[in-house]
Symmetry: C2
Subunit: 491 residues, 2 copies
């Protein structure tokens, strides 16, 4: 219980066959199990209740124990032990496999701020009846305050009187709001780590970050707790968690969904979006929410930008290339063209400058009045925004307009294909430097749609070493629903 | 997945050694496992993801499988299989042990209506800082409606503007409200089965009813999800779930805790109460909530009423007698006297008549306007209340007053010792007849304190066949806190 890693390492059988499974997934091999232990603070204090022992023969025993945590409730540990002789002639018992269950908390606080059964009932009739929604904690839900992943902000936030439009649309179509889900602080990250509420688990990759900033809705959908994650995407906050957890995700065309009742970050790029486990649900959600916007057809064929793809990890590049090959072989992408976009570093710098200046304009006053309320990295991003002087901002805004026009003229009415993120989800214990590096290359990939105001669909179609990566389709403005249909065809 | 019981029975090894463990507990023996299967509707649809197979030797294999439920998320199955020869010379693989984990829901809807992290923060300073509360869905929590376990009632219920006094006291002492927990419909049962929201699990006894009507708070405390269950006790609604799940539970002196903001049932008997896993927390809660009320000392020694104890099952009678023996041997009950109370059937009839008449007075108008909104048994109890004519009610009220005076004169300033319930928790699959029989005998035990308006403490001190039963102390009015100290001494 004190997490004495050496002792535990000695108790588990060496080699590649040893197994440890818990709610986070199945770890295979002594090294993976040891690494997991080094990243945690210890196991909860507990005593053994009911204990069942079975002789399996061949020097093996099965132990099934009910565990009684000091914090209440009841868990279970199932273990296979193996008896062997040590070098000095003693016998030694080692664990070859273990399966650990712990009692569920009332609420997974890293994923959710409030949950109801349901929190808000939907209309009794409509295309989304039976579906449930995790609402990112940026949208107004009547009767609840908006917290934006920042406890000090929540503490002063008034209860919303009406729902945000994006919430109303889902309720009117029959979906129920299950709860309000966590976000990175003020949605200013794509990692999914919140310094106050913790890191939601990545359901697809044991021990990895969930992706953000729509981290809570993403994990809620991936874990089967809800059917729909309602989130936002400024620079990738729908596409990255969808990519990291193997979900369908749509960043909508800029301004296609009204943003009333939504606490924004950078209005030039802010969009509403959704994540689901299947395309049909995403299609129904988009159709119920988009009204007449987002219903344009796609006529222009496909394009790839090799300079963008080159930003991805070798594994992602390979998986993406293999997917393009399969699509070509299936005759689905005969008209694919290669495009040269403006320099990706320039695009990213324009995006970053406008985003941070707007983020400071949105939240700077509150942040100044509440020093120490944000985690270090997020605070640093806002601090950078505070240094953008009016001239720089004005220049960046003009550059943004030019960049948008250039992308428009280069891509035109084509659908741009690219990986949704530069890599699979990094480990939660990865160095901050590695996470930052992944973020930098992912934002260079994702900022193209953000700059262009175009819809971007992440399709859970790629796999690298067993971990998901999204296959992204960036369409012309207002082709949101056609993009989903296209994604389904390609998938 | 179709729950073909015969097929599953054939796949599991026969005999008393076979094991099946899941979140509900560990079942031992082929028969127990088979019986469990017959009581469920089938296992969730799922496919196998990652699959690990280990040869354990001696004709045994370990299977560790990640399961991917159709409803999303990720589970795990660990199984030990054994190969044997069948009578006709074929080989046959049978499961000797299995451990099943399924993904956690966003909210356990049988236990909770709303949960937050927290839902309402407590004062930053006070004796209950760090403690969390499950509030029975009868108390006003500002910003939320009261639902009383009845969805149709909830649908029309306005959001409360202020907290109930009992909630405010806990918040002021530093406890946080974790959420609003389920109750039997209008709190009119001691079983803990709600026809709309389901039956919260009994954490102490796999497959048993949780006890009610404070069922949600009880299970939330027993499962370690919160430290404090805030409930009510009219005829046993704190004592019975505490008894069934091995918790400390206090029904307070009638009127010692203000009932503003509490949706009552029968005001002559309604009281506020709490359940906790340990005595120290209960003492802190009572001390913070009771103000000057409930602080009288106990001077009168102990008493038992053999006619009451005789209502309990043989197992409970034995456990209770053994406990009295141990207390006597320890010299803690030298002054114990045996008392003869008024006829228990008469007492119960008086209680039942006044309770049902008052329950109808409280809720009759709403129930009449909302036919079909209640489950069958609860509806029948209210229907009986509607038939109590004014003369009968008046007569019963006078009889109640006389009964109270007689109990007062017989018990005086002594502490009456008795089992908290007539039996351990019945199985959820028990016949309605058996549950009704248990209810009848339990209410005859518990109605004495209800009639007398006296505080009653349930101490988790008895065990019958591995299942808990409460040891109950009924004290003179306003000895609530002294009763807890006394219970700790005896425990």
């Amino acid at each position: 219980m004190a997490n004495e890693v050496e002792t535990l390492d000695r108790l588990f059988a060496p080699g590649e066959e040893t197994l440890l499974g818990d709610a986070g997934g199945i770890l295979v091999g002594h090294d993976a199990i040891s690494a997991f232990r080094q990243g945690r603070d210890g196991a909860p204090a507990r005593i053994i209740g009911d204990l069942q022992v079975r002789d399996l023969g061949n020097d093996r025993a099965l132990i099934v124990a009910m565990t009684l945590p000091a914090s209440g409730g009841r868990g279970q540990q199932t273990q296979v032990w193996h008896r062997s002789s040590t070098n000095d002639g003693d016998v030694d018992w080692l664990i070859e496999a273990t399966h650990v269950s712990v009692p569920a908390p009332a609420i997974a606080a890293s994923v959710w701020r409030v949950v109801g059964s349901p929190l808000v009932a939907g209309a009794v009739d409509g295309p989304l009846v039976g579906k449930t929604v995790a609402v990112k904690d940026l949208f107004a839900v009547a009767g609840f305050a908006v917290g934006a992943g920042v406890p000090a902000y929540l503490a002063e936030s008034p209860r919303s009187v009406t729902h945000a439009s994006a919430v109303t649309a889902l309720l009117a179509a029959g979906a129920a709001v299950q709860g309000i889900a966590q976000t990175d602080e003020f949605a200013y990250s794509v990692a999914g780590k919140n310094s106050h509420y913790g890191t939601p688990p990545n359901v697809a990759v044991a021990g990895a970050i969930p992706g953000g900033s729509s981290s809570g809705p993403a994990t809620a959908v991936a874990s089967g707790q809800v059917s729909i994650g309602l989130g936002t995407d400024t620079g990738g906050s729908i596409r990255v968690p969808a990519s990291y957890q193997g979900l369908w995700g749509l960043r909508t065309t800029h301004d296609a969904i009204a943003r009333d009742g939504l606490l924004g970050l950078a209005p030039s790029f802010d969009t509403v979006g959704w994540m689901t486990r299947d395309a049909a649900t995403l299609r129904a959600v988009a159709s119920a929410s988009l009204g007449s916007a987002g219903r344009k057809a796609v006529f222009g064929g496909f394009a790839v930008a090799p300079a963008l793809v080159a930003l991805a990890s070798p594994g992602v590049q390979d998986a993406f290339a293999a997917a393009l090959m399969r699509l070509a072989e299936a005759g689905l992408t005969d008209d694919l063209v290669e495009l040269t976009l403006p320099d990706v570093d320039d695009l990213h710098e324009i995006f970053r400058t406008v985003q941070s200046a707007e983020a400071w304009a949105t939240h700077g006053e509150w942040i100044t009045a509440h020093p120490g309320s944000l985690g270090g990295e997020i605070a640093a991003r806002f601090a950078f925004g505070s240094t953008v002087d009016p001239d720089t901002r004005s220049f960046a805004s003009q550059a943004l307009e030019l960049a948008r026009e250039r992308i428009e003229s280069i891509v035109g009415d084509r659908v741009l294909l690219l990986p949704s993120a530069s890599s699979t989800a990094p480990s939660t214990t990865a160095d901050a430097e590695i996470i930052e590096q992944v973020r930098q290359s992912t934002l260079r990939l994702s900022c193209v749609a953000s700059i262009a105001g175009r819809p971007a669909l992440s399709v859970p179609a790629l796999t690298v070493d067993g971990a998901p990566v999204g296959f992204c389709l960036v369409g012309p403005p207002n082709t949101d629903i056609a993009l989903i249909a296209l994604g389904e065809s390609l998938a």
